[in-house]
Amino acid sequence: MTQAEIKLCSLLLQEHFGEIVDKIGTHLIRTGSQPLRAIVHGTGTSLDQVKKALCVLIQHNLVTYQIHKRGIVEYEAHCSRILRILRYPRYIYTAKTLYSDTGELIVEELLLNGKMTMSAVVKKVADRLTETMEDGKTMDYAEVSSTFCRLADTHFVQRCPLVPDPPESAEAQPPPPAPTLSINEKDMYLVPKLNLIGKGKRRRSSDDDAAGEPRPKRPKQTAESKEPMPDDGIYWQANLDRFHQHFRDQSIVNAVANRMDQTSSEIVRTMLRMSEITTSSGAPFTQPLSSNEIFRSLPVGYNISKQVLDQYLTLLADDPLEFVGKSGDSGGGMYVINLHKALASLAMATLESIVQERFGSRCARIFRLVLRKKHLEQKQVEDFAMIPAKEAKDMLYKLLSENLISLQEIPKTPDHAPSRTFYLYTVNSLSAARMLLRRCYKSIANLIERRQFETRENKRLLEKSQRVEAILASMQATGAEEAQLQEIEEMITAPERQQLESLKRNVNKLDASEIQVDETIFVLESYAESTMKRS
């Protein structure tokens, strides 16, 4: 946990959950796993509040607990999970593109609430959808449930671990201090058989027709919700790993499209889709796929002949990018996608792009040169890059001071006399990636702080505009005249309106850049993880 990460986590917790949760969360990140008493003592908050904060954190899967020896329960915060909060908009957007509005709302509800039962999700989503639909139409529960089932089938949502059933031979053992949760692999995506019948309810502020009827109906509704639902105790959460897999696949497909053409990228997308469920997320290679299978699974609109497909596959396998490899000849040729190599290439391209934007294209040339040739002397760098000696030296030293390039000394004599030592420049990709990752975290923290600053500065103005809007809305509801509405609107003067506009624009821009920096974080993190797993 670097300083930058801790600061960012603290900002995120504060923004989404409030001060107290922020204090507890940061304390846990800083000090590792701690028992309850130590947390109370360390943060100086009351036991009650600590308990409530821990409940919130556990509900959102940000903190887990473990029973240690001697029966002490310790709580541990997961910094990486907290940083995923930044990526929530991206998850929701992905769900929207794949499963349209219903999917989007399901994922949004699950992310905002941490864990929920299926029936609760379905009910809430149906209500929300009904509100946005036209008058008279309502959303059917069945449709929402079917989307939920599809999400579970493609592993985008998964069951949370549960308390296992107590053993039959009840020896009246004292209950353990904390329940141990476990879940079977097979059950993780099993959707319970529910009979959810009903329609979404529209929340109406006033019922014009049948004003008398809603009253007796309402007590019945609340009574209904008190009955325990059949799937009580089976909670669902969003499967973030699966979303990450999807993002990774998307970036690989985009890279192939940029380097080659549209058809090749479609082929790669098909291959990745086929290996979605069969390959685990950390594997360096997908399962081998035969060209016949790929041909059968191509999207329906794409009618290319088998021959052309074979040619494309050969081209992909021969390309210097090395994303696709040929692993055998049975079934018309077995092809695998080299996931580790693809992630490495994407991460290196990211590094090169960062060097290019920060230092200029000549520095980028030198950086790429040293990256490809692994170890080079000063003179060789000048010769290969065709850059005059003075400038090359200057750029190399600049890159060296930023720790993107490092020096490797090879002494010729046992005493490492500088005049008789070789100095070779080299790029250590993993450490450069980590360093840039830290910089990304710092930038996001800066962006969030700036956004909060902007909102604080204009707090008075924002409150005023909110008041005016509330007055307008209430007056419109009670049926006021045009002139009165105009008068209220003019309470906000033109320069104030402009200020509000620019504030909105700035906040949006800052939000958007947070998401863009998060994309870089994703690429660099996946590369670091994949390299660590390999070694």
Binding site: S251, N254, A255, N258, R259, D261, T263, S264, V308, Q311, Y312, T314, L315, P320, L321, S345, L346, A349, T350, E352, S353, I354, Q356, E357, R358, S361, A364, R365, I366, R368, L369, R372, K379, F384, A385, M386, I387, P388, A389, E402, L436, R439, C440, K442, S443, N446, L447, S513, I515, Q516, V517, D518, E519, T520, V523
Partner: protein, 293 residues
């Protein structure tokens, strides 16, 4: 009556005769003759006379004394050299010899000192003399600008000293390299464009977007933007810089010996490519470009 023994000198014991015989022998064996050979030829001459003759020939500059692992060798010297060196003394001749041996790479003054064992002041004087006589010249090395290498006047300096086609008068021609860079890239890009438009079979499309280094070389020569004659290796170094710019990729294929442009049985093919990602997210935020760490 004491009889003075007079050694009857054999008729060809005349010193000049001996020298002529030795010169003839040297002409017979242009690679050099050892002392043993001379002794075999003229067994009746004493060692002292032989030595004297050889010394005279050496001092007159008609014989070269070399050392080999079998012993000392005597070699006839080319006649034109003896004409040039008329006014110089032995030391200058020695220094000149050393410089001549260095060929077109030239030799540094310190190395001359090591080889000849002469003190520095002498070396400097001799070098100045030789330069004024226009027998040697000093060439500034492009690698270390303070170092001066000496070579014979009429020799062309080697590429490693002057830097070859990219250097004109010790100056690296960056604009020239840049212009060539852009021209090569444009050529490859247009080739890739036409290949993409043709909309054929993907294999043919890809193969036609490749250009071999020979084709690029011909194109650049025809363009005529370079005053200096460029070889294929020069063009390949330029294409390599394009690879390091990330704009071009290269593959090597095996080619038959006879095909045009193949070197040692393989050919290098180049193709223009576009980068695999857009500029990344971090650099779109000001924090990515900020110089404050």
């Amino acid at each position: 009556m004491a009889e003075v023994k007079v050694k009857a000198q054999p008729p060809d014991a005349d010193p000049v005769e001996i020298e002529n015989r030795i010169i003839e022998l040297c002409h017979q064996f242009p690679h050099g003759i050892t002392d043993q050979v001379i002794q075999n030829e003229m067994p009746h001459i004493e060692a002292q006379q032989r030595a004297m003759a050889i010394n005279r020939l050496l001092s007159m500059g008609q014989l070269d004394l070399l050392r080999s692992n079998t012993g000392l060798l005597y070699r006839i010297k080319e006649s034109q050299n003896t004409g040039k060196m008329k006014g110089s003394d032995n030391q200058e001749k020695l220094v000149y010899q050393i410089i001549e041996d260095a060929g077109n790479k030239g030799i540094w003054s310190r190395d001359i000192r090591y080889k000849s064992n002469l003190p520095l002041t002498e070396i400097n004087k001799i070098l100045k003399n030789l330069e004024s006589k226009k027998l040697i010249k000093a060439v500034k090395s492009v690698a270390a600008s303070k170092k001066k290498v000496y070579m014979l006047y009429n020799l062309q300096p080697d590429r490693s000293v002057t830097g070859g086609a990219w250097y004109s008068d010790q100056d690296f021609e960056s604009e020239f390299v840049e212009v060539l860079n852009q021209q090569c890239f444009k050529f490859l890009q247009s080739k890739a464009e036409t290949a993409r438009e043709s909309k054929q079979n993907p294999m043919i499309q890809r193969n036609s977007s490749f250009a071999s280094s020979h084709e690029v070389w011909k194109y650049i020569c025809e363009l005529g933007i370079s005053k200096v004659e460029l070889s294929m290796e020069d063009i390949e170094t330029i294409l390599n810089t394009l690879i390091y710019d990330g704009k071009v990729e290269m593959t090597i294929i095996a080619a038959k010996e006879g095909t045009v442009g193949s070197v040692d049985g393989h050919m290098k093919l180049y193709r223009a490519v576009s980068p695999i990602i857009q500029p990344t997210g971090l650099v779109r935020a000001p924090c990515g470009l900020c110089p404050v760490s």
